[in-house]
Symmetry: C2
């Protein structure tokens, strides 16, 4: 009696080729974060309920995975931000602020399972957390990391849309509708999906705004990007300057972020001030970001974040302002795959070379494997007793680019036959010459990225 093996629905489990792609994306993201001097962080997947749920409520609470061991109940993390808040508060005495950390790990949300939505998924987060204060340049650096990161994956055709909550909050001050600001933020956040007319309606019917105020908001945000000053800022900003300190600060900060982005080398084609970006969360207080694949805006933002003034207020009286952003990698991988963005030229084998010994004695093959590996060539030995044809079939199925054939002739002459599995071309030479040739060929493949636009 066997049990039918299965993987729970909503849990991503990849086949080897896809997993290799996924791992290479993880690694490139890690490298990119490290290039910007972020320090790695790893926190438990399981946390004490009262700590993790200090801030949660509503939808979040319903999606929480609860964990029981013996009599005790804990919870599984649903993001990497609350664990960061806990970590920063708990260890604040031993950290150096500004604290720049990245964290890549799985998080858990019991969402209704549907295609491309996962209950266990990777988040790749960066945050810069200050102690009491944090300079504005950090708010330009965060999208710079994201620009470099997506580039390193091979994604070219994307745009980072940037706004500042202070601009919107300032506008609400000027229009004297601050009491409704949270609900207005949530409403205008939908403009991309539902359009300007529907948003205008909702501002009146759901947020209770006067038609005049609602029209001013729509006019302000939807003109965004149509005309841009040399400063990189939309023209309509200047119309409201001088009426609200919040608004003016927001405009100043947007200008500083644009200046910073240019200095960090992010091209104008890859970022845009977009006054419709509100981000629903109350949490954000300044610059906010969303990132879209230009050809597929319907996918929604693939990388979002922003500036917050108080990371860990639930755990400490110490004010820890910060700025951060998050890539939901499991979903991103899924949509990239669905839309044909995975690079077919990417090597889907974990081996660079497979050694096929043609003799009974495998010691020659083992010694050759050791030689290849010392040279940094990823090597496996096929040591099953099979016919030549079956050995070649295995090499084919493995998708390995090269096979090293080691027969009696080769062993006697101290040589190796290297077969290019794609072209079928074979070369016989001394092991050291083969190693040198292989290293050269493999170096050419280093620039192949896991993503390639279709």
């Amino acid at each position: 009696m066997t049990i039918t093996p299965r993987t729970l629905s909503g849990f991503q489990e990849l086949l080897p080729g896809d997993q290799i792609m996924f791992e290479s994306m993880l690694e490139r993201i890690r490298r990119s974060f490290e290039l910007y001097g972020f320090t790695p962080l790893d926190t438990p997947v399981i946390e004490a309920s009262e700590v993790l749920l200090a801030k949660a409520g509503g939808e979040t609470e319903k999606q929480i995975y609860r964990v029981r061991i013996n009599e005790t109940e804990h919870v599984m993390r649903f993001d990497l931000t609350v664990p960061l808040a806990k970590y920063a508060a708990l260890h604040s005495g031993q950290l150096t602020f500004p604290f720049r950390r990245y964290q890549i790990g799985k998080v858990y949300r019991g969402e209704r399972a549907q295609r491309g939505r996962f209950r266990e998924f990777y988040q790749c987060d960066i945050d810069i957390v200050g102690d009491g204060e944090l300079g504005i340049l950090n708010e330009a650096e965060i999208p710079s990391v994201i620009y470099d990161t997506f580039n390193s994956l091979g994604l070219r055709d994307f745009i980072i849309r940037i706004n500042n909550r202070k601009v919107l909050n300032g506008l609400f001050e000027i229009l004297d509708i601050t009491a409704e600001s949270a609900s207005i933020m949530r409403t205008i956040d939908k403009i991309d999906k539902i359009g300007a007319d529907k948003t205008l309606q909702l501002l009146i019917t759901e947020c209770g705004l006067q038609a005049d105020a609602a029209e001013k908001i729509i006019g302000f945000i939807s003109a965004a990007g149509s005309e841009t000053e040399h400063s990189g800022l939309p023209r309509q900003l200047s119309a409201y300057l001088g009426h609200s300190e919040t608004f003016d600060t927001g405009v100043f900060e947007l200008g500083e972020v644009v200046k910073g982005l240019r200095a960090f080398g992010v091209p104008e084609s890859h970022f845009r001030i977009d006054l419709t970006i509100a981000r629903g969360l109350d949490y954000y207080t300044g610059t906010v970001y969303e990132t879209f694949i230009t050809a597929h805006p319907e996918i929604g933002s693939i990388c979002s974040g922003g500036r917050y003034d108080d990371l860990a207020g639930y755990y400490t009286d110490r004010k820890l302002p910060g700025v951060g952003i998050s890539i939901g990698l499991s979903r991103l991988f899924y949509v990239l795959s669905e839309h044909g963005y995975l690079n077919r030229d990417y090597q889907l084998s974990s081996c660079d070379v497979l050694i096929l010994p043609m003799t009974e004695d495998f010691t020659g093959a083992a010694a050759l494997a050791a030689l290849f590996r010392r040279a940094g060539i990823r090597t496996a030995v096929f040591s099953e007793k099979k016919k030549f044809k079956q050995k070649m079939t295995y090499a084919d199925k493995m998708g390995v680019p090269y096979a090293a054939i080691l027969g009696e002739d080769e062993l006697r002459e101290g040589r190796v036959t290297l077969r290019d599995m794609l072209t079928g071309e074979q070369t016989t030479a001394s092991a050291s010459l083969i190693v040198a040739g292989l290293k050269e060929k493999l170096a050419d493949k280093h620039d192949i990225t896991p993503i390639k636009e279709p």
Copy 2:
């Protein structure tokens, strides 16, 4: 009212310096596994109860973390072997056998929390799984990977002890005590801890052996390693040859493994046939491994595994024999740290260089950061408005090896001042010269390993 932040006991949460060490160990292990052509695998942390617990029972069941979402209960994985069995059975049609996979991930066991024992811990596993059959060379390759892996971490003083269950089972056949074999295995597995005399006692009192048989067993296993033939095998093996097919096969396999290890380049100093290694688990059927730090045998095995004949018998009728080994990295990291094995020369900062702008305008600093990063130098910018001394204090606290000072003079002259934070030495030169010099200095640090013997 704030909530006191805390991390659950039994859960490892490292400070940045230690985390950098830990990550570098993870990365070196990953590289080493990949050099041997293992393909990465990632499976969910949560699995269906009936699948994950198909094989479990007794102690394991008690330590299971149970997960609840809405009305459904699942379980968290307690190792990476059962998920591999599920994966291999579930996806067998899409895998190429022998299937060589590595998996590095967290597993969960509700053990009684005590120093150095974790409830959430990293396992780093490699397995080679065949379809119906699997050649003996694989049993030599597994310890070769481990030898290279520990070496790449900087650990030198360790030994891999190897035995073959067929040798012990064959001996039990010859002594006509096969009915007791499971309990004998468990008993002799303790000989390292309790000594030969106590083990002899237990064989008689607990396993119910005659004194004569018990003495023969102790004589056989404890003479191990005292005298070794040219073949690398202990002399006493030959005394029992020719009386049991199982025994003879075991001896032959041990010989092949020694031959393979030598061919793969593992020095004689780092492996030894040790007939006391039994491994308590019924699961293993051939070669078994344990790895010890020579100076600290009391730590116990830091890397164990072996050959099994039936990986996924609970899920499929297809016979999938394999061989694998596992490093429990969280505990290993803990004991290495406790025993002073962490390398004090290892760079504990995530940055190679910290840019300290001395002017109001940070655009020069941002541009310099972009230049450094394009050269692969891990760079952060300190953009807080602080006095010079506070900026230097930050660089010191960060443990960053170099600071790049960018004052008005430097900006005007298109130059950078690089300060070696350890020696205090400063050089002013053009940015491109500074980059070239830095790359050279940083390359020298590549050989510094996270582990260094005290």
